[in-house]
Symmetry: C2
Subunit: 301 residues, 2 copies
Amino acid sequence: MKPDASDFDLQSALTDWRKLADQALSQALDAIAATPGCPAKLAEAMRYAVLGGGKRLRPALCLAACRACGGDASKALDGAVAVEFVHAYSLVHDDLPAMDDDDFRRGRPTCHKQFGEALAILAGDALLTHAFEFAARIPPAQAAVHLLAQAAGAAGMVGGQVNDVDGQALSLEAVESVHRRKTACMMEASVGLGALAANADEKQTEALTSYAAALGLAFQIADDLLAHEGDASELGRPTDSDQKQDRRTHPRLAGLDASRERVAEIIDEALESLRVLGPEALPLRALATFVARRAEGSIDD
Amino acid sequence: MKPDASDFDLQSALTDWRKLADQALSQALDAIAATPGCPAKLAEAMRYAVLGGGKRLRPALCLAACRACGGDASKALDGAVAVEFVHAYSLVHDDLPAMDDDDFRRGRPTCHKQFGEALAILAGDALLTHAFEFAARIPPAQAAVHLLAQAAGAAGMVGGQVNDVDGQALSLEAVESVHRRKTACMMEASVGLGALAANADEKQTEALTSYAAALGLAFQIADDLLAHEGDASELGRPTDSDQKQDRRTHPRLAGLDASRERVAEIIDEALESLRVLGPEALPLRALATFVARRAEGSIDD
């Protein structure tokens, strides 16, 4: 019998990946903190921003993508650090008073509430800077850095955030465009770095990239759905943040049922993309199924 | 007769380098702006931050270092773009209300006064991100990215800014430590990328790095001296910015004469470092002499 995603113990795999990623992240932060000239409180703010919980979804994608292409997950750890540093910096800057002005994240004060605005901006800057140092350890370095810069940059994550902050996303298409750039691009970079680390071929890389693009969009719509339904205590942050900004979300424009259907449709696309990969892609299939179930409202993580 | 720095037409060389750099910067910004998904106003804010004047000292160092090692300056243009993007991002973030809170720079409104704080933060983030894309085009990419990340990161420029903002630099040694990290590190990276682009040997690279470390420190003390003496109209920004922050500067701690002597001493070190390089290092010698004269108060650029 062919194993399918429902047989796979995703929670235990996610726990393993998170442990691997957390260890690599902690070592990376230690190395930065130990460099002569690094102010202690900057190192503290960076550590706070990176190690304060979180699902480590992007590192998991990076490690799982490397495995799916036959590589050893340990080869992709530099990539995992790079994408999580970028993710952590983006949360710190997005939470700033000039942007979303959020006081809490993951049940703790946001970085600028804890360390002040100047140090939060600078801790974010430092994380972004060092992310590239880790990405460049994956050969070929130029390709790895190009991939990360395009995903995180002006036409990727930062561009998506610009359009998100200005609230010009009035149509469903525009909301999906923000989600694609703000979330999906970095998920594509996560699997892309994993694929590079495994020295994957073009067919494998394309399959993983399509998968991650779909997963990222589905994940973000699922997030919109949860924010719409959930309560603050479960998510560890106020769910009225989007409402406060009068931000258009997928379910508000399309309705709950249509948004749920859209997630199911995109997840089917994600699973379809993985068909060219072998049984080693099972964890990625399970992850997609998990996002689909999350959107159905049965999981609140 | 051996040509010396005083025979060299530095202004005309600086103009040539600035033209080369401006052209490369403009092309780089065009390419970013033309990428599907890049919001027009983000591209506009990035262009405003980068192309609003400035001496292009870091690109000049990158191009001149490449020439000094026998390389063609055109090979170092990606490096020049990378270091100027990092410099421009650092000015945008340093000017923010949470940091220096400056309204004007180079005679124009600062980026956040012109585009709002959120877009200024994001334009800085995007510039930093894409800087690495350009640095990674210089082979070997891993070395180029490592060099830039160390110079710009937690133990370099960002670390220096953290200590500068917190105003803990109460001793001359601490002030010089801030200057070294905040200014000299990126000048070292500028010549370092130029040296890489020229495929320089270890001796050449070490000479250039020592030179740039000294030049950067001297340049920043000269800047302190000018801020102490100059008036706002000549520098295009309020000179009371440092005073406003009650920031300790070199001349305030050491006295004007001692600061001028310190610049002369460091510039001698810079010139000494260049001795192992041939006549192609003449522009770099001229640049050091220029900084020395600037500190003497005879030049206000």
